[in-house]
Amino acid sequence: MPVPPWRIVSVLQRAENGPLILAKDFDRRILTPNIKRVVKEHDIKYDPENPVPSDDSLAKDVWDAGVDLFLTVGTFCTTTSRRMLFTEDELKEALWNYHDTLEIGGGQDRKVWTARKVEDTRWPGCLFSPVGVRCTEENFVHMLMAYMQEPLADGVSTPILERVEGEYTKTYSPFEQQGGVVHAQYSRQAAVRVGRPGIPIVLTGTALSAASQLASSDPEWGARPIDLRLVSVVSELKIDYELLNKALHFRHYGGNIGTLTGPLYGAYAGIEGTTVVGVASHLQGLMVNQGDFTCYFPVHFRYFNNTSREMLWLTSLSYQALAGNSKLISGSNGFAVAGPCTEMVLYEAGLHGIVSAVSGAAVLWEIASAMNKHLERTTPIEARMACETGLAATNSRLKRSDANEIVKKVLPKYENKFDSPPLGKTFPECYDVKSLKPTEEYMELYRRIRREFEDLGLKYIY
């Protein structure tokens, strides 16, 4: 069930009354030196030979460093130019009072997500996500139906409706609000058409502004309290009024708030520092964003993915730190470089699923394809591969060391292709859009890569 928000008025007051600082000085004099300090003091070192580390003390160091970083730096509110700071006792209070299960969806589609531990034998949840890829109005409902009909999907995220009434759904324009309303309506329509009216839907991606988010909330035709609403952390450890307004509305409306956070490796810090920022961002999610859960998508600054060697290390270690030291419910959101209907994207998806499941992610939130930047270049098959392979890792009772060996065998198949990855095909090229059936070409490729994972020792559930 949703957690009561942690002292919401007190949080909002900190955006008004916290210490003032210039944005440049926050980055230069507070954030970056403290990232460097905690990495050094806690002696956190990247080991490229072991992309899935098995060192519990290292995971504890990352947790401690993340707590240290968040309590020292706080969250910077860019609108008021103030730091929102918290004490250790306040953080402990919020962590202790956090729920360890989360109920999402309704009716026959109701699901419960549970916090997991490292190498947990309980199943992770699965959320199928076209993330925020642009989609035409023509294919929007059918793309969503294709995702929603996947039996493993506890919930779905939605693409961005690129145009409405022929106009771009440009942020802050009236067509953003119109697009947000239509986006929510189409999403509900798709859910009914696949017989899952209560499936929880991440809404409303087309509505970036707080005003348009409010406009798309409606229990009859739009975003319901049983759906999932997201409030971003601005990289790194920042927030603004728009986001706080969204959080406040979602709280007033009732329901589940997710913190959306994607620390950027290569922007403010190296791989170790970004791992620590990942933990600290989860703490901001709890204290500032009012998050009941987190959608976590750390990405490589250059390739916008988290399927490389160092990004898998980061993903694994941050989840080990979170799962070993808190009951925070977090979904591990994959970002692949390659596009649909390629070997590479299925390898990337499989590894992301395995690493997330073994390291303690509560939910497999899978997976953006083709760097999430090309029109309709995503399909449910990539998400299916990531989730089925992650569940296979749990089914096989994999230890981190086992996962490490699998990752080391599969990574060389694609890790030299990031500079010119295959972009594959679009949703209409991979699916018969009207009948919602994937092409035989893609399914044959899918079955072949799955067999390769089986040959590495994974036991798929079915």
Binding site: G132, Y168, T171, S209, Y268, M371, L375
Partner: protein, 217 residues
């Protein structure tokens, strides 16, 4: 200390982001009357190049670029105040840069702005969430060579197009080169909106800007 070793000291202090050491080296240079042209060309310019490479290799990050740009600006100010006629700073180009309207994600934009400054461009950074008309007006007012537009979110990309459309409608398109970048953008989007270049990273953006002003670095 010889002129050469003092210049090396300044160069190293900039590369190491050591503000205090850079101040000391600058004071020594001013006191001993070392040729400012040589200091700029062999000390500061070389240091900026090294910092750019460190960023490309992911050894340096955004805050490091901010510090380096501040040190270089301060050093140049002091040198040129002490010897105003010693060197005419030639800017490689003038860039108006912004994250477009509706978008608050400014890391990529900030990185490119710092890289451009470090490499001799005059940069007018309008910040994030900037209305399209404001960008066009600033480019006109400053007589910029390049307009650089960043957008992370899919729903803010149309504002990049809006800037290009405005330039065309106002008869200004030929005056400026427009380059775009950001997480959701792509070469196909550049082509669709008629921009002059697309960069996948801040480093790509720098190379693109250098190419557009005829300075390949």
């Amino acid at each position: 200390m010889s002129a050469k070793s003092t210049i090396i000291k300044l160069k190293k202090s900039i590369i190491n982001l050591d503000e205090e050491a850079a101040k000391q080296a600058t004071e020594q240079i001013i006191a001993s009357g070392i040729d400012v042209k040589e200091v700029i060309e062999k000390g500061i310019t070389d240091a900026a190049g090294t910092i750019g490479k460190k960023f490309e290799k992911m050894e340096y990050f955004l805050a490091d670029l901010l510090i380096a740009a501040d040190i270089i600006t301060e050093t140049l100010d002091k040198l040129l105040s002490a010897y105003p006629d010693s060197y005419k700073l030639g800017k490689k180009g003038r860039v108006v840069i912004a994250t477009v309207y509706g978008d608050i994600h400014d890391i990529g934009k900030n990185l490119l702005a710092q890289l451009l400054k470090l490499n001799g461009f005059e940069v007018h950074d309008l910040g994030s969430n900037v209305p399209s008309l404001q960008i066009v007006n600033k480019a006109t007012e400053t007589n910029a060579n390049i307009i650089a537009l960043s957008s992370l979110m899919s729903t803010t990309m149309p504002s990049q197009k809006e800037v290009v459309d405005m330039l065309k409608a106002f008869g200004l398109r030929e005056r400026f080169k427009v380059i775009i970048g950001g997480g959701s953008t792509s070469p196909e989007w550049r082509q669709e909106i008629g921009a002059d270049g697309w960069g996948g990273t801040a480093w790509d953006g720098l190379k693109l800007a250098q190419k557009l002003v005829g300075d390949e670095g």
